[in-house]
């Protein structure tokens, strides 16, 4: 299995292509668009039903937002509390400034136990730091154990969705892959058969692995409890069976107290898989005698998160609980798929998180992402922790534009594209102006829409459709609908 075929993304060295460049490739892939369209529509409908049965949903969202805001404002204190409680419970906490440090620490722990193989449960943070590649370079074989991740790993590709990483592959392609790579015979393309083949293959790995690697959905400062939310049971396997467990966690994942799970464990399952509760959730507090791994390492990762924290308006991107609801409602994501974002964080959240994590003005790929949006506002409406993604997108457009101007000298200032961007930055800095502008766009768009898609928007709104082939602006935006249906505005 080779990972070299992977294409560099925003978190690997070198230049990343801008969104519109990669988006063109995805737009040309009819199979991908069919898979994606089917997937996102199904999830959208189910999510709406799961949320609809909660009379207190808005109160939960508000509590989620407030708790995350509290954490970010006092992150130093919460991390210190977390370190203390995990240590008290028998675990070891490691602090790492960047990907390189985190990779070295994890590899060191694995090698310290003489392990040549590890089992791993899907974690975006480990994808962000390219942990698998690092471990393989160190001679350690990594077994991804989520079905989708296994598929991706066998195919040597990148995930295209936070939650359904193999959303771009159909059953025939998966069967093909399993026949070739798992050494099974007589396999049908029935999803149940394919799943069974993966179960048997992975069971062997779980039973023999000495070290397990996971990410974390939450970690409680007060008690040191770490939580992994999952569907398939491989998370339980990886966090229960090996003798040693290493968990990598972004510093923003800490939550204040045990009780706060009552908020997040209601928000997350309904928003992500549209279930009342996901099949399995594991909570562990350090090491329990005679039950599960007897050695536990929690690796705390910065890797740009403190950059994000620095921006008062952009900081809210750190509140994300990775539910992927914003991806599934995004008209841009639905058409381009995840690969177009060239980041382990795709979709609307990726568009605000990636450029902030890697830093503005360093790489054309991430810098292009704030424009990968029609600003329809659907992401904000579904976000379980109320991240105002459109607001941050607009804010980041302004930042990118200013950066280009500062660096570009006179020619950049006279460049019409920059003038358009500047005008846009002004329009977008005020949500009311933005709403008016969007109304204007709707009125003005009809002669430009062909076959249900927009090619260009006129005048100073031109910058809005940096990404060609967008869906027409909806007749009524979510924001307007929301206000009207609540009798405001």
């Amino acid at each position: 299995m080779t990972l070299k075929a992977r294409r560099p993304d925003a978190f690997s060295p070198g230049r990343t292509p801008p969104f519109e460049e990669t988006a063109k490739e995805s737009l040309a892939d009819a199979q991908l668009r069919r898979n994606l369209g089917k997937a996102t529509q199904t999830i959208r409908r189910k999510r709406a039903a799961a949320v609809g049965e909660m009379p207190d949903w808005e109160a939960l969202r508000e509590a989620g937002r407030a708790l995350k805001t509290r954490v970010m404002r006092h992150l130093d204190e919460y991390l210190l509390r977390l370190e203390e409680s995990v240590t008290r419970a028998g675990g070891t906490v490691h602090w790492t400034r960047d990907a390189g440090e985190a990779n070295e620490i994890v590899a060191g722990i694995v090698k310290g136990h003489g392990a040549r193989e590890v089992v791993k449960v899907k974690s975006i943070a480990t994808d962000e730091i390219k942990l698998n590649e690092h471990l393989e370079r160190e001679g350690i074989k990594v077994h991804e154990t989520d079905l989708a991740e296994l598929i991706i790993q066998l195919a040597g590709e990148e995930s295209s969705h936070i939650l359904v990483p193999a959303i771009h592959k159909n059953r025939a392609e998966i069967r093909e892959l399993f026949l070739r790579k798992l050494g099974v015979e007589g396999l049908s393309d029935d999803p149940a058969d394919l799943t069974e083949a993966a179960r048997l293959y992975l069971r062997e790995r779980f039973l023999s692995a000495k070290v397990g690697i996971s990410g974390a959905n939450f970690a409680v400062a007060e008690t040191g409890t770490v939580c992994v939310v999952e569907s398939e049971g491989n998370g339980r396997m990886c966090t229960t069976l090996p003798e040693v467990l290493v968990t990598l966690m972004g510093i923003e994942k800490v939550i204040p107290s045990w009780r706060d799970f009552e908020v997040f464990m209601q928000l997350l399952p309904r928003s992500s898989t549209a279930e009342r509760m996901n099949p399995y959730t594991s909570f562990w507090t350090g090491v329990s005698e005679g039950d599960g791994p007897q050695e536990f390492h929690l690796v705390l990762l910065d890797n740009g998160r403190t950059n994000v924290l620095e921006d008062e308006r952009g900081r809210q991107a750190l509140n994300c609980i990775r539910c992927s609801a914003c991806l599934n409602v995004c008209p841009v994501y639905e058409r381009t798929g995840g690969h177009a974002y060239n980041s382990v964080y795709p979709g609307p959240i990726g568009a605000i998180l990636t450029p902030q994590l890697v830093g503005i003005g360093r790489d054309p790929g991430p810098d292009s992402l704030p424009w990968a949006s029609s600003l329809c506002g659907a992401c904000y409406e579904v976000c379980p922790v109320k991240i105002n993604i459109p607001e941050v997108l607009i804010h980041l457009r302004g930042k990118v534009t200013r950066h280009k101007q500062d660096r570009g000298g006179l020619s950049a200032k006279l460049n019409p594209e920059n003038a358009a961007m500047r005008a846009m930055a002004r329009v977008f800095s005020d949500p009311r102006l933005y709403e008016l502008a969007q109304k204007a766009a709707r009125v003005g768009q009809w002669p430009l829409a062909r076959g249900g898609s927009i090619r260009h928007l006129p005048g100073r709104l031109a910058g809005w459709t940096e990404v060609r082939d967008l869906k027409p602006v909806p007749r009524q935006t979510f924001r307007e609908w929301w206000r009207e249906s609540r009798g405001e505005g």
Partner: protein
């Protein structure tokens, strides 16, 4: 040279310099305006639990206390279970005659291979959550360590009606002491595992027990048991 910890803490403090000096974490308001308790009757709550568990395609049966043993026997027979894993402290008479009990406790650990090769596992639980159809295992009485309910392919779980709470916040409130004082690991089980990774077709049972069966018991089982 500064350690990674010192650097990260310094970066955080610099990044949050807009936060007023004297502000404590608790000063940032968090309004908990959501529901904390299910005001339904006991019967309504238990019925909702059974209904929601069943929606995950787990089998649910409600039985009276004195029917528990026969219900267990029937379930195991239907499934053809011969070698049954049980936590050491599970009431002995829950295991029907003719079924071999593989007991696991601190003094006598089954190996992972033995668990894997067994026909199923029988346990109690810590809590049930009606709102979400969730069974909570916390390694307390009658539940055993985590691997017991993970490696066998069939899990028969006994839930007493009084263990069922209405809403998710009620469950976390009840579990707080376990976590704070004992630090035991907790697992939420909501139906058998599932994946929708292949063309979004839901497939039940990936890892962990592919079949989950739940017996909801009304009233106390006869004296001397559970």
């Amino acid at each position: 040279m500064a350690t990674a910890k010192e650097t990260i803490l310094r970066r955080i403090r610099r990044a949050t310099r807009d936060v007023p000096e004297g502000e404590r974490p608790e000063d940032v308001p968090v309004e908990r305006g959501y529901l904390l308790r299910d005001e339904g009757t006991r019967e309504e709550i238990v019925a909702r639990f059974a209904e929601n568990v069943a929606e995950y395609r787990a089998t649910v049966r409600r039985v009276a206390g004195d029917e528990l043993r026969s219900a267990i026997r029937e379930a195991l027979e239907r499934r053809g279970v011969r070698r049954l894993v049980v936590p050491e402290d599970l009431p002995e008479d829950w295991v029907p005659e003719g079924v071999e009990a593989l007991r696991d406790g601190p003094g006598s650990r089954l190996t992972n291979e033995e668990l894997d090769a067994s026909d199923g596992v029988l346990t109690g639980c810590s809590l049930g959550i009606a709102q979400t159809g969730t069974i909570v295992l916390d390694a307390g009485p009658g539940q055993g360590r985590r691997a017991l309910t993970l490696l066998p392919d069939y899990h028969l779980c006994v839930v007493r009606e009084e263990q069922v709470v209405g809403l998710v916040p009620e469950a976390f409130a009840r579990l707080e002491a376990t976590v704070r004082e004992k630090g035991r690991a907790i697992t939420f089980v909501s139906g058998p595992s599932a994946t929708s990774d292949i063309e979004l077709n839901r497939v039940e049972g990936v890892h962990g027990p592919r079949t989950l069966e739940v017996l909801v018991v009304r009233g106390r089982p006869p004296a001397g048991t559970g």
